[in-house]
Subunit: 102 residues, 2 copies
């Protein structure tokens, strides 16, 4: 499994535009082969700081995700919002350990 954590900043008053653009892309991404989890979330303390939270079966699935029409459309919509400070990192994970809950 590959775990992804990332973030990007937008103007807080653009959050509704991001929500609108992200809704269809997130649904389409979650339906992709190899997608285990895919979520965008706004920092509880820093409005406009969006966290990107993903888990994928393997790198091939991530590479295929990057070439989908829904990501191209979302990328174009996001560019219009002028995001900055994008950083996304991947971590190869051998196994998942449940720390709390179930």
């Amino acid at each position: 499994m590959i775990v992804i954590q990332g973030s990007v900043r937008i103007s807080p008053d653009k959050m509704d535009q991001v929500r609108e653009a992200a809704r269809a892309m997130i649904a389409a991404t979650r339906a992709e082969d190899g997608c285990i989890a895919y979520t965008f979330a706004e920092d509880v303390l820093e409005p406009g700081l969006i966290h990107i939270i993903e888990r994928w079966r393997d790198q091939a699935a991530i590479t295929a995700h990057g070439k989908t029409p829904h990501m191209a459309a979302f990328g174009a919509a996001l560019a219009a919002i002028k995001p900055h400070g994008l950083k996304v990192c991947a971590y190869d994970a051998a196994e998942e350990r449940v720390l709390m809950g179930g």
Copy 2:
């Protein structure tokens, strides 16, 4: 490094209470030895769904974190908000690969 991803649900109208309770706890946690990243963020599509995003040097640092007074205080504050569906998972990560940005 250990990467953590988790989530918990609260009533969306309690988000401001969570923000208030989390602010000091997050600051204190980020100052802990071995804490690389520690963030709470609200799902952009599901109000009240809080994502927990963490990275730690090792399990010893995570264990020590669980015993801090700020986590005890935050746990008590959160219990009053009646969260549900808590699940937190850990992933051992050999290395970090930058996929986008820097």
